[in-house]
Protein backbone atom coordinates (compact mmCIF):
# COMPACT_ATOMS: atom_id res chain seq x y z
CA UNK A 1 0.00 0.00 0.00
CA UNK A 2 2.84 2.38 0.78
CA UNK A 3 4.05 2.15 -2.80
CA UNK A 4 1.11 3.85 -4.44
CA UNK A 5 0.43 7.57 -4.61
CA UNK A 6 -3.04 7.59 -3.10
CA UNK A 7 -3.75 10.13 -0.41
CA UNK A 8 -6.59 10.48 2.01
CA UNK A 9 -8.76 13.42 2.91
CA UNK A 10 -10.89 13.34 6.03
CA UNK A 11 -14.34 14.79 5.59
CA UNK A 12 -16.62 16.31 8.22
CA UNK A 13 -18.70 13.15 7.94
CA UNK A 14 -15.90 11.25 9.60
CA UNK A 15 -14.79 9.21 6.64
CA UNK A 16 -11.65 9.44 4.61
CA UNK A 17 -11.74 9.82 0.86
CA UNK A 18 -9.20 8.01 -1.28
CA UNK A 19 -7.82 10.21 -4.03
CA UNK A 20 -5.24 9.46 -6.65
CA UNK A 21 -3.14 12.41 -7.92
CA UNK A 22 -2.05 12.34 -11.55
CA UNK A 23 1.65 12.25 -12.37
CA UNK A 24 3.57 14.24 -14.98
CA UNK A 25 3.05 11.92 -17.95
CA UNK A 26 -0.74 12.02 -18.32
CA UNK A 27 -0.66 15.71 -17.48
CA UNK A 28 1.90 16.47 -20.19
CA UNK A 29 -0.17 14.50 -22.68
CA UNK A 30 -3.34 16.33 -21.63
CA UNK A 31 -1.51 19.63 -21.92
CA UNK A 32 -0.33 18.74 -25.44
CA UNK A 33 -3.92 18.25 -26.53
CA UNK A 34 -4.91 21.57 -24.97
CA UNK A 35 -2.06 23.47 -26.59
CA UNK A 36 -3.04 22.06 -30.00
CA UNK A 37 -6.65 23.11 -29.47
CA UNK A 38 -5.53 26.55 -28.35
CA UNK A 39 -3.24 26.95 -31.36
CA UNK A 40 -6.02 25.90 -33.71
CA UNK A 41 -8.43 28.40 -32.16
CA UNK A 42 -5.80 31.16 -32.31
CA UNK A 43 -5.16 30.51 -35.99
CA UNK A 44 -8.88 30.56 -36.74
CA UNK A 45 -9.37 33.79 -34.77
CA UNK A 46 -6.56 35.62 -36.53
CA UNK A 47 -7.41 34.27 -39.96
CA UNK A 48 -11.07 35.20 -39.72
CA UNK A 49 -10.63 38.59 -38.06
CA UNK A 50 -7.76 39.65 -40.31
CA UNK A 51 -10.28 40.49 -43.04
CA UNK A 52 -11.43 43.42 -40.91
CA UNK A 53 -8.01 45.01 -41.07
CA UNK A 54 -6.27 46.46 -38.06
CA UNK A 55 -9.47 46.68 -36.05
CA UNK A 56 -9.99 42.96 -36.52
CA UNK A 57 -6.43 42.21 -35.48
CA UNK A 58 -6.99 44.32 -32.37
CA UNK A 59 -9.96 42.16 -31.39
CA UNK A 60 -8.00 39.04 -32.26
CA UNK A 61 -5.21 40.19 -29.95
CA UNK A 62 -7.67 40.59 -27.07
CA UNK A 63 -9.17 37.17 -27.74
CA UNK A 64 -5.77 35.52 -27.98
CA UNK A 65 -4.79 37.19 -24.71
CA UNK A 66 -7.86 35.68 -23.04
CA UNK A 67 -7.13 32.32 -24.62
CA UNK A 68 -3.54 32.38 -23.49
CA UNK A 69 -4.24 33.05 -19.83
CA UNK A 70 -7.84 32.07 -19.17
CA UNK A 71 -8.56 29.04 -21.36
CA UNK A 72 -7.86 26.63 -18.47
CA UNK A 73 -9.62 28.90 -15.95
CA UNK A 74 -12.86 28.68 -17.90
CA UNK A 75 -12.82 24.90 -18.08
CA UNK A 76 -11.70 24.45 -14.48
CA UNK A 77 -14.53 26.60 -13.16
CA UNK A 78 -17.37 25.68 -15.49
CA UNK A 79 -16.54 22.20 -16.78
CA UNK A 80 -15.91 20.32 -13.54
CA UNK A 81 -12.21 21.05 -13.49
CA UNK A 82 -11.55 19.45 -16.85
CA UNK A 83 -10.02 21.09 -19.90
CA UNK A 84 -10.65 19.08 -23.08
CA UNK A 85 -7.18 17.56 -22.76
CA UNK A 86 -7.74 16.59 -19.13
CA UNK A 87 -11.15 15.19 -19.95
CA UNK A 88 -9.56 13.00 -22.55
CA UNK A 89 -7.24 11.51 -19.94
CA UNK A 90 -9.85 11.38 -17.18
CA UNK A 91 -8.09 13.98 -15.07
CA UNK A 92 -9.60 16.86 -13.17
CA UNK A 93 -8.38 19.79 -11.11
CA UNK A 94 -9.68 20.19 -7.59
CA UNK A 95 -8.72 21.72 -4.27
CA UNK A 96 -6.45 19.59 -2.10
CA UNK A 97 -9.41 18.62 0.09
CA UNK A 98 -11.35 17.36 -2.96
CA UNK A 99 -13.81 20.25 -2.96
CA UNK A 100 -14.36 22.04 -6.27
CA UNK A 101 -11.71 24.53 -7.32
CA UNK A 102 -12.43 28.13 -6.32
CA UNK A 103 -12.13 31.00 -8.84
CA UNK A 104 -9.19 32.50 -6.96
CA UNK A 105 -7.30 29.22 -6.89
CA UNK A 106 -7.92 28.60 -10.57
CA UNK A 107 -6.61 32.04 -11.49
CA UNK A 108 -3.52 31.62 -9.29
CA UNK A 109 -2.58 28.24 -10.72
CA UNK A 110 -2.99 29.45 -14.28
CA UNK A 111 -1.14 32.74 -13.85
CA UNK A 112 1.73 30.86 -12.26
CA UNK A 113 1.88 28.60 -15.31
CA UNK A 114 4.41 31.16 -16.57
CA UNK A 115 7.00 30.25 -13.93
CA UNK A 116 6.21 26.55 -14.16
CA UNK A 117 7.05 26.85 -17.83
CA UNK A 118 10.52 28.27 -17.07
CA UNK A 119 13.34 27.75 -17.93
CA UNK A 120 11.82 25.91 -20.88
CA UNK A 121 8.92 23.53 -21.49
CA UNK A 122 7.63 23.32 -17.92
CA UNK A 123 11.07 22.60 -16.45
CA UNK A 124 10.31 24.01 -13.00
CA UNK A 125 6.80 22.59 -13.09
CA UNK A 126 8.02 19.07 -13.72
CA UNK A 127 10.76 19.32 -11.08
CA UNK A 128 8.19 20.56 -8.59
CA UNK A 129 5.81 17.72 -9.52
CA UNK A 130 8.51 15.12 -9.00
CA UNK A 131 9.51 16.57 -5.63
CA UNK A 132 6.03 16.80 -4.12
CA UNK A 133 3.95 13.91 -2.84
CA UNK A 134 0.87 14.93 -4.78
CA UNK A 135 2.57 15.82 -8.07
CA UNK A 136 1.90 19.53 -7.66
CA UNK A 137 3.53 22.07 -9.91
CA UNK A 138 4.41 25.47 -8.43
CA UNK A 139 1.04 26.92 -9.38
CA UNK A 140 -0.72 24.04 -7.64
CA UNK A 141 1.33 24.58 -4.49
CA UNK A 142 0.35 28.23 -4.23
CA UNK A 143 -3.28 27.67 -5.19
CA UNK A 144 -3.64 24.62 -2.95
CA UNK A 145 -4.92 22.56 -5.85
CA UNK A 146 -4.17 19.09 -7.14
CA UNK A 147 -4.85 17.20 -10.38
CA UNK A 148 -6.59 13.89 -9.75
CA UNK A 149 -7.46 10.82 -11.73
CA UNK A 150 -11.18 10.50 -12.08
CA UNK A 151 -12.21 7.04 -10.85
CA UNK A 152 -13.31 4.87 -13.75
CA UNK A 153 -16.45 2.81 -13.73
CA UNK A 154 -15.76 -0.77 -12.86
CA UNK A 155 -18.92 -2.76 -13.45
CA UNK A 156 -19.59 -5.36 -10.79
CA UNK A 157 -18.39 -8.81 -11.70
CA UNK A 158 -20.62 -11.84 -11.81
CA UNK A 159 -18.97 -14.14 -9.34
CA UNK A 160 -18.25 -17.59 -10.67
CA UNK A 161 -18.98 -19.77 -7.67
CA UNK A 162 -18.79 -23.05 -9.54
CA UNK A 163 -15.55 -24.27 -8.08
CA UNK A 164 -13.81 -23.55 -4.83
CA UNK A 165 -10.31 -24.68 -4.00
CA UNK A 166 -9.07 -24.83 -0.43
CA UNK A 167 -5.86 -22.81 -0.13
CA UNK A 168 -2.86 -24.98 0.81
CA UNK A 169 -1.68 -22.42 3.37
CA UNK A 170 -3.70 -20.17 5.63
CA UNK A 171 -4.06 -16.60 4.39
CA UNK A 172 -4.28 -13.40 6.38
CA UNK A 173 -6.82 -10.69 5.64
CA UNK A 174 -4.61 -8.62 3.33
CA UNK A 175 -3.74 -11.70 1.30
CA UNK A 176 -7.38 -12.67 1.02
CA UNK A 177 -8.18 -9.15 -0.15
CA UNK A 178 -5.42 -9.30 -2.74
CA UNK A 179 -6.86 -12.50 -4.17
CA UNK A 180 -10.37 -11.04 -4.37
CA UNK A 181 -9.00 -7.95 -6.08
CA UNK A 182 -7.22 -10.21 -8.51
CA UNK A 183 -10.46 -12.00 -9.27
CA UNK A 184 -12.23 -8.69 -9.82
CA UNK A 185 -9.55 -7.44 -12.17
CA UNK A 186 -9.50 -10.53 -14.39
CA UNK A 187 -11.80 -9.01 -17.06
CA UNK A 188 -9.40 -6.04 -17.44
CA UNK A 189 -6.27 -8.15 -17.86
CA UNK A 190 -5.08 -10.08 -20.85
CA UNK A 191 -4.96 -13.80 -20.13
CA UNK A 192 -1.16 -13.74 -20.46
CA UNK A 193 -0.84 -11.01 -17.88
CA UNK A 194 -3.32 -12.74 -15.58
CA UNK A 195 -1.24 -15.90 -15.80
CA UNK A 196 1.96 -13.97 -15.22
CA UNK A 197 0.52 -12.45 -12.05
CA UNK A 198 -0.82 -15.80 -10.88
CA UNK A 199 2.61 -17.39 -11.29
CA UNK A 200 3.97 -15.06 -8.61
CA UNK A 201 1.89 -16.75 -5.92
CA UNK A 202 3.82 -20.02 -5.97
CA UNK A 203 2.88 -21.15 -2.43
CA UNK A 204 -0.77 -21.08 -3.54
CA UNK A 205 -0.52 -22.37 -7.07
CA UNK A 206 1.94 -25.14 -6.16
CA UNK A 207 3.52 -24.78 -9.60
CA UNK A 208 0.33 -25.75 -11.36
CA UNK A 209 0.16 -24.67 -14.98
CA UNK A 210 -1.91 -22.68 -15.83
CA UNK A 211 -2.09 -21.04 -12.43
CA UNK A 212 -5.00 -18.67 -13.10
CA UNK A 213 -7.86 -21.18 -12.47
CA UNK A 214 -6.17 -22.29 -9.26
CA UNK A 215 -6.06 -18.73 -7.90
CA UNK A 216 -9.60 -18.00 -9.00
CA UNK A 217 -10.72 -21.15 -7.25
CA UNK A 218 -9.03 -20.04 -4.04
CA UNK A 219 -10.63 -16.61 -4.39
CA UNK A 220 -13.99 -18.34 -4.68
CA UNK A 221 -13.21 -20.39 -1.61
CA UNK A 222 -12.47 -17.19 0.32
CA UNK A 223 -15.69 -15.58 -0.83
CA UNK A 224 -17.54 -18.81 -0.21
CA UNK A 225 -16.03 -19.38 3.21
CA UNK A 226 -17.94 -16.40 4.43
CA UNK A 227 -21.13 -18.07 3.25
CA UNK A 228 -20.91 -20.67 5.93
Amino acid sequence: MALDTLYHVSTPEGISLRLSPAGPVPRILAWSIDILIRLAITVVIFASLAVFGKTGIGIALILSFLLEWFYPVYFELYKNGQTPGKKNFNLYVTMENASPITPGASIIRNLLRFVDFLPFLYGFGIISMLLTKRFQRLGDLVAGTVVLHKALDYPAIEEDKTKAITPPVSLNLAEQQALIKYQQRIPYLTSDRAEELAQIATPLTENKNPATPQLLGIANWIMGSANK
Binding site: T11, E13, G14, I15, L17, R18, L19, G53, K54, T55, I57, G58, I59, A60, L61, I62, S64, F65, E68, W69, K79, N80, T94, N97, A98, S99, P100, T102, P103, G104, I107, I108, L111, L112, R113, F114, V115, L118, L138, L141, V142, A143, G144, A151, Y154, A156, I157, L173, Q176, Q177, I180, K181, Q184, I222, M223, G224, S225, A226, N227
Partner: protein, 335 residues
Protein backbone atom coordinates in the same frame (compact mmCIF):
# COMPACT_ATOMS: atom_id res chain seq x y z
CA UNK B 1 -15.48 -11.51 4.59
CA UNK B 2 -19.18 -11.41 4.70
CA UNK B 3 -20.57 -12.04 1.29
CA UNK B 4 -24.14 -12.73 2.25
CA UNK B 5 -24.32 -9.67 4.30
CA UNK B 6 -22.70 -7.87 1.43
CA UNK B 7 -25.37 -9.07 -0.97
CA UNK B 8 -28.08 -7.98 1.43
CA UNK B 9 -26.26 -4.72 1.94
CA UNK B 10 -26.20 -4.07 -1.79
CA UNK B 11 -29.83 -5.08 -2.25
CA UNK B 12 -30.91 -2.82 0.54
CA UNK B 13 -29.06 0.30 -0.58
CA UNK B 14 -28.59 -0.14 -4.30
CA UNK B 15 -31.61 2.05 -5.14
CA UNK B 16 -30.26 4.99 -3.20
CA UNK B 17 -26.84 4.70 -4.85
CA UNK B 18 -28.34 4.54 -8.32
CA UNK B 19 -30.60 7.49 -7.59
CA UNK B 20 -27.64 9.50 -6.31
CA UNK B 21 -25.54 8.52 -9.30
CA UNK B 22 -28.26 9.59 -11.73
CA UNK B 23 -28.66 12.88 -9.90
CA UNK B 24 -24.91 13.56 -9.99
CA UNK B 25 -24.71 12.68 -13.67
CA UNK B 26 -27.52 15.09 -14.40
CA UNK B 27 -25.88 17.88 -12.39
CA UNK B 28 -22.70 17.52 -14.40
CA UNK B 29 -24.45 18.02 -17.72
CA UNK B 30 -24.09 21.42 -19.29
CA UNK B 31 -27.15 23.63 -19.59
CA UNK B 32 -26.97 23.09 -23.31
CA UNK B 33 -27.18 19.30 -22.96
CA UNK B 34 -30.03 19.53 -20.48
CA UNK B 35 -32.17 21.58 -22.83
CA UNK B 36 -31.12 19.89 -26.04
CA UNK B 37 -34.19 19.45 -28.22
CA UNK B 38 -33.00 16.40 -30.08
CA UNK B 39 -32.23 14.25 -27.10
CA UNK B 40 -33.97 15.71 -24.09
CA UNK B 41 -32.66 14.23 -20.90
CA UNK B 42 -35.21 13.87 -18.20
CA UNK B 43 -34.35 15.39 -14.90
CA UNK B 44 -34.00 12.64 -12.31
CA UNK B 45 -35.90 12.70 -9.07
CA UNK B 46 -34.74 15.46 -6.74
CA UNK B 47 -32.80 14.32 -3.74
CA UNK B 48 -32.01 15.80 -0.37
CA UNK B 49 -28.28 16.13 -1.02
CA UNK B 50 -26.90 16.47 2.53
CA UNK B 51 -29.06 13.63 3.79
CA UNK B 52 -28.35 11.23 0.94
CA UNK B 53 -24.68 12.12 0.98
CA UNK B 54 -24.40 11.43 4.68
CA UNK B 55 -26.14 8.08 4.28
CA UNK B 56 -23.77 7.06 1.53
CA UNK B 57 -20.81 8.18 3.62
CA UNK B 58 -22.14 5.84 6.27
CA UNK B 59 -22.44 2.99 3.76
CA UNK B 60 -18.90 3.64 2.61
CA UNK B 61 -17.56 3.54 6.15
CA UNK B 62 -19.45 0.32 6.82
CA UNK B 63 -18.25 -1.31 3.62
CA UNK B 64 -14.72 -0.34 4.54
CA UNK B 65 -14.77 -1.66 8.07
CA UNK B 66 -16.59 -4.84 7.10
CA UNK B 67 -14.00 -5.54 4.40
CA UNK B 68 -16.54 -5.82 1.68
CA UNK B 69 -15.52 -6.54 -1.86
CA UNK B 70 -12.93 -3.96 -3.00
CA UNK B 71 -14.94 -3.20 -6.13
CA UNK B 72 -17.94 -2.28 -4.01
CA UNK B 73 -15.76 -0.17 -1.74
CA UNK B 74 -14.25 1.55 -4.76
CA UNK B 75 -17.69 2.28 -6.16
CA UNK B 76 -18.84 3.82 -2.88
CA UNK B 77 -15.61 5.79 -2.59
CA UNK B 78 -16.27 7.25 -6.01
CA UNK B 79 -19.83 8.18 -5.07
CA UNK B 80 -18.63 9.82 -1.87
CA UNK B 81 -15.92 11.80 -3.67
CA UNK B 82 -18.45 13.06 -6.20
CA UNK B 83 -20.97 13.89 -3.48
CA UNK B 84 -18.31 15.69 -1.46
CA UNK B 85 -17.38 17.68 -4.53
CA UNK B 86 -21.00 18.71 -5.00
CA UNK B 87 -21.94 19.38 -1.39
CA UNK B 88 -18.90 21.49 -0.59
CA UNK B 89 -18.93 23.62 -3.70
CA UNK B 90 -19.14 27.33 -3.01
CA UNK B 91 -22.24 29.15 -4.08
CA UNK B 92 -21.14 32.70 -3.50
CA UNK B 93 -21.49 34.93 -6.51
CA UNK B 94 -18.10 35.59 -8.00
CA UNK B 95 -19.31 38.73 -9.76
CA UNK B 96 -20.88 40.32 -6.68
CA UNK B 97 -17.70 39.66 -4.75
CA UNK B 98 -15.67 41.36 -7.44
CA UNK B 99 -17.87 44.46 -7.39
CA UNK B 100 -17.68 44.69 -3.60
CA UNK B 101 -13.98 44.18 -3.86
CA UNK B 102 -13.40 47.15 -6.11
CA UNK B 103 -15.72 49.32 -4.06
CA UNK B 104 -13.47 49.03 -1.03
CA UNK B 105 -11.65 45.77 -0.54
CA UNK B 106 -8.94 46.49 -3.08
CA UNK B 107 -7.74 49.88 -1.74
CA UNK B 108 -8.04 48.54 1.81
CA UNK B 109 -5.87 45.58 0.85
CA UNK B 110 -3.28 47.82 -0.79
CA UNK B 111 -3.11 49.91 2.39
CA UNK B 112 -2.86 46.81 4.53
CA UNK B 113 0.02 45.55 2.40
CA UNK B 114 1.66 48.97 2.40
CA UNK B 115 5.09 47.60 3.25
CA UNK B 116 5.39 45.33 0.26
CA UNK B 117 3.66 47.86 -2.02
CA UNK B 118 6.15 50.52 -0.94
CA UNK B 119 9.06 48.22 -1.65
CA UNK B 120 7.69 47.48 -5.12
CA UNK B 121 7.03 51.18 -5.73
CA UNK B 122 10.56 52.08 -4.67
CA UNK B 123 12.02 49.36 -6.88
CA UNK B 124 10.25 50.87 -9.87
CA UNK B 125 10.05 54.62 -9.25
CA UNK B 126 13.56 55.18 -7.86
CA UNK B 127 15.40 53.85 -10.95
CA UNK B 128 12.71 55.42 -13.13
CA UNK B 129 13.20 58.94 -11.78
CA UNK B 130 16.95 58.46 -11.46
CA UNK B 131 17.18 57.47 -15.12
CA UNK B 132 15.19 60.51 -16.21
CA UNK B 133 17.48 62.85 -14.27
CA UNK B 134 20.75 61.18 -15.21
CA UNK B 135 19.92 61.29 -18.91
CA UNK B 136 19.44 65.08 -18.74
CA UNK B 137 23.11 65.37 -17.82
CA UNK B 138 24.49 62.43 -19.74
CA UNK B 139 22.21 61.90 -22.76
CA UNK B 140 24.29 59.16 -24.38
CA UNK B 141 23.40 56.80 -21.58
CA UNK B 142 20.11 56.09 -23.33
CA UNK B 143 22.05 53.98 -25.82
CA UNK B 144 23.27 51.68 -23.09
CA UNK B 145 19.66 50.85 -22.24
CA UNK B 146 18.18 50.51 -25.71
CA UNK B 147 19.73 50.18 -29.14
CA UNK B 148 19.71 53.02 -31.63
CA UNK B 149 16.95 51.62 -33.85
CA UNK B 150 14.67 51.57 -30.83
CA UNK B 151 15.59 55.17 -30.01
CA UNK B 152 14.90 56.19 -33.61
CA UNK B 153 11.55 54.48 -33.55
CA UNK B 154 10.66 56.21 -30.33
CA UNK B 155 11.73 59.59 -31.68
CA UNK B 156 9.75 59.00 -34.85
CA UNK B 157 6.61 58.07 -32.92
CA UNK B 158 6.56 61.22 -30.84
CA UNK B 159 7.99 63.72 -33.32
CA UNK B 160 5.91 66.85 -32.72
CA UNK B 161 5.58 67.78 -36.41
CA UNK B 162 4.32 64.39 -37.41
CA UNK B 163 1.25 64.87 -35.30
CA UNK B 164 0.53 68.25 -36.80
CA UNK B 165 0.89 66.78 -40.27
CA UNK B 166 -1.72 64.13 -39.77
CA UNK B 167 -3.94 66.01 -37.37
CA UNK B 168 -4.25 62.91 -35.27
CA UNK B 169 -1.59 60.84 -33.69
CA UNK B 170 -2.95 57.69 -35.25
CA UNK B 171 -5.61 56.73 -37.72
CA UNK B 172 -8.73 56.05 -35.75
CA UNK B 173 -9.23 52.53 -37.07
CA UNK B 174 -6.00 51.52 -35.42
CA UNK B 175 -7.18 52.57 -31.96
CA UNK B 176 -8.83 49.21 -31.39
CA UNK B 177 -5.75 47.48 -32.70
CA UNK B 178 -3.64 49.33 -30.18
CA UNK B 179 -6.16 48.54 -27.43
CA UNK B 180 -5.77 44.83 -28.19
CA UNK B 181 -2.02 45.19 -28.36
CA UNK B 182 -1.76 47.00 -25.02
CA UNK B 183 -3.97 44.43 -23.32
CA UNK B 184 -2.01 41.47 -24.58
CA UNK B 185 1.37 43.05 -24.03
CA UNK B 186 0.97 45.05 -20.80
CA UNK B 187 -1.24 42.67 -18.84
CA UNK B 188 0.94 39.82 -20.03
CA UNK B 189 3.93 41.56 -18.45
CA UNK B 190 1.98 42.14 -15.23
CA UNK B 191 1.12 38.44 -15.07
CA UNK B 192 4.71 37.42 -15.67
CA UNK B 193 5.85 39.81 -12.98
CA UNK B 194 3.46 38.20 -10.51
CA UNK B 195 4.49 34.68 -11.49
CA UNK B 196 8.15 35.69 -11.41
CA UNK B 197 7.78 36.32 -7.67
CA UNK B 198 7.70 32.57 -7.28
CA UNK B 199 11.43 32.48 -8.12
CA UNK B 200 12.26 33.90 -4.68
CA UNK B 201 11.25 37.30 -5.97
CA UNK B 202 13.89 37.46 -8.67
CA UNK B 203 11.35 37.66 -11.49
CA UNK B 204 9.37 40.47 -9.89
CA UNK B 205 12.57 42.27 -8.90
CA UNK B 206 13.95 42.02 -12.42
CA UNK B 207 10.82 43.27 -14.16
CA UNK B 208 10.40 46.19 -11.73
CA UNK B 209 14.00 47.37 -11.99
CA UNK B 210 14.23 46.75 -15.71
CA UNK B 211 11.02 48.60 -16.50
CA UNK B 212 12.05 51.41 -14.16
CA UNK B 213 15.38 51.93 -15.94
CA UNK B 214 13.99 51.31 -19.43
CA UNK B 215 10.99 53.58 -19.15
CA UNK B 216 13.06 56.15 -17.25
CA UNK B 217 15.56 56.19 -20.13
CA UNK B 218 12.77 56.65 -22.66
CA UNK B 219 11.17 59.45 -20.66
CA UNK B 220 14.53 61.08 -20.04
CA UNK B 221 15.56 60.92 -23.68
CA UNK B 222 12.32 62.38 -25.01
CA UNK B 223 12.51 65.17 -22.47
CA UNK B 224 16.13 65.85 -23.35
CA UNK B 225 15.58 66.13 -27.12
CA UNK B 226 12.66 68.48 -26.51
CA UNK B 227 9.68 66.31 -27.44
CA UNK B 228 8.22 67.29 -24.13
CA UNK B 229 4.58 67.95 -24.93
CA UNK B 230 4.13 65.29 -27.58
CA UNK B 231 5.57 62.61 -25.33
CA UNK B 232 4.48 63.55 -21.82
CA UNK B 233 1.10 64.62 -23.19
CA UNK B 234 0.63 61.17 -24.59
CA UNK B 235 1.82 59.05 -21.68
CA UNK B 236 1.09 60.92 -18.51
CA UNK B 237 -2.68 60.30 -18.51
CA UNK B 238 -2.80 56.53 -18.76
CA UNK B 239 0.45 56.32 -16.80
CA UNK B 240 -1.54 56.86 -13.61
CA UNK B 241 -3.05 53.42 -14.11
CA UNK B 242 -0.40 51.60 -16.09
CA UNK B 243 2.64 52.39 -13.94
CA UNK B 244 0.83 51.82 -10.66
CA UNK B 245 -0.70 48.58 -11.93
CA UNK B 246 2.80 47.43 -12.73
CA UNK B 247 3.96 48.34 -9.24
CA UNK B 248 1.08 46.36 -7.72
CA UNK B 249 1.81 43.36 -9.94
CA UNK B 250 5.36 43.52 -8.67
CA UNK B 251 4.06 43.76 -5.09
CA UNK B 252 1.90 40.65 -5.69
CA UNK B 253 4.98 38.83 -6.95
CA UNK B 254 6.98 39.94 -3.92
CA UNK B 255 4.17 38.68 -1.71
CA UNK B 256 4.82 35.18 -3.05
CA UNK B 257 8.53 35.67 -2.53
CA UNK B 258 7.87 36.72 1.07
CA UNK B 259 6.27 33.34 1.73
CA UNK B 260 9.36 31.59 0.39
CA UNK B 261 11.99 33.79 1.98
CA UNK B 262 10.45 34.56 5.35
CA UNK B 263 7.43 32.34 5.96
CA UNK B 264 7.47 33.21 9.68
CA UNK B 265 5.86 30.61 11.88
CA UNK B 266 4.11 28.84 9.03
CA UNK B 267 5.55 26.15 6.83
CA UNK B 268 6.55 27.45 3.41
CA UNK B 269 3.74 25.49 1.79
CA UNK B 270 1.10 27.00 4.03
CA UNK B 271 2.60 30.49 3.79
CA UNK B 272 2.50 30.21 -0.01
CA UNK B 273 -1.17 29.30 -0.01
CA UNK B 274 -2.04 32.14 2.37
CA UNK B 275 0.05 34.75 0.59
CA UNK B 276 -1.16 33.46 -2.77
CA UNK B 277 -4.70 34.34 -1.78
CA UNK B 278 -3.65 37.91 -0.99
CA UNK B 279 -1.50 38.18 -4.10
CA UNK B 280 -4.22 37.02 -6.48
CA UNK B 281 -6.55 39.63 -5.01
CA UNK B 282 -3.97 42.28 -5.80
CA UNK B 283 -3.84 40.83 -9.32
CA UNK B 284 -7.59 41.38 -9.82
CA UNK B 285 -6.90 45.05 -9.17
CA UNK B 286 -3.91 44.98 -11.48
CA UNK B 287 -6.03 43.58 -14.31
CA UNK B 288 -8.71 46.23 -13.83
CA UNK B 289 -6.18 49.06 -13.71
CA UNK B 290 -4.33 47.75 -16.74
CA UNK B 291 -7.57 47.50 -18.67
CA UNK B 292 -8.37 51.12 -17.85
CA UNK B 293 -4.82 52.07 -18.83
CA UNK B 294 -5.07 50.23 -22.14
CA UNK B 295 -8.40 51.84 -22.87
CA UNK B 296 -7.10 55.33 -22.11
CA UNK B 297 -3.90 54.74 -24.03
CA UNK B 298 -5.74 53.52 -27.10
CA UNK B 299 -8.66 55.92 -27.23
CA UNK B 300 -7.79 58.98 -25.18
CA UNK B 301 -4.04 59.46 -25.29
CA UNK B 302 -4.00 59.21 -29.07
CA UNK B 303 -6.62 61.91 -29.57
CA UNK B 304 -5.23 65.26 -30.63
CA UNK B 305 -6.21 68.30 -28.58
CA UNK B 306 -4.48 71.21 -26.88
CA UNK B 307 -1.88 69.64 -24.70
CA UNK B 308 -3.03 71.64 -21.69
CA UNK B 309 -6.27 69.64 -21.62
CA UNK B 310 -4.25 66.45 -21.53
CA UNK B 311 -2.23 67.70 -18.60
CA UNK B 312 -5.35 68.73 -16.71
CA UNK B 313 -7.03 65.38 -17.32
CA UNK B 314 -3.82 63.60 -16.35
CA UNK B 315 -3.70 65.55 -13.10
CA UNK B 316 -7.31 64.55 -12.42
CA UNK B 317 -6.57 60.88 -13.21
CA UNK B 318 -3.52 60.78 -10.95
CA UNK B 319 -5.41 62.37 -8.09
CA UNK B 320 -8.35 59.99 -8.66
CA UNK B 321 -6.04 57.01 -8.37
CA UNK B 322 -4.42 58.49 -5.27
CA UNK B 323 -7.76 59.26 -3.65
CA UNK B 324 -9.08 55.81 -4.50
CA UNK B 325 -6.24 54.14 -2.66
CA UNK B 326 -6.19 56.59 0.23
CA UNK B 327 -9.87 56.98 1.03
CA UNK B 328 -11.96 54.05 -0.25
CA UNK B 329 -12.83 51.01 1.81
CA UNK B 330 -12.22 52.60 5.18
CA UNK B 331 -15.73 52.16 6.58
CA UNK B 332 -15.71 48.33 6.47
CA UNK B 333 -13.65 47.70 9.55
CA UNK B 334 -14.73 44.07 9.76
CA UNK B 335 -13.26 43.14 6.41
Amino acid sequence: MSSIRQTQFIEKHQDLWLKFEAWLDYQELSRWQKNSKKKPIEAPEDIDLPDVYRKICHHFALANSRMYNPVLVERLNKLVVRGHHKLYSTRTSFLANIINYFAGGFPALVRKEWRIVSIAAALFYVPFIAAIIVIQFNPDLVYSVMDSSMVDQLEDMYEPERNQRFGRERESDTDLYMFGFYIKHNIGIDFKMFAGGMLFGIGALFFLLFNGVFLGAAFGHMTHIGYFDSFWGFVVGHGAFELNAMVLAGAAGLKLAEALIMPGRKSRGLALIDNGKVAVKLMYGVVAMSLIAAFLEAFWSSAVMPVIIKYVVAAILWSLVAMYFVYLGRENKHQ
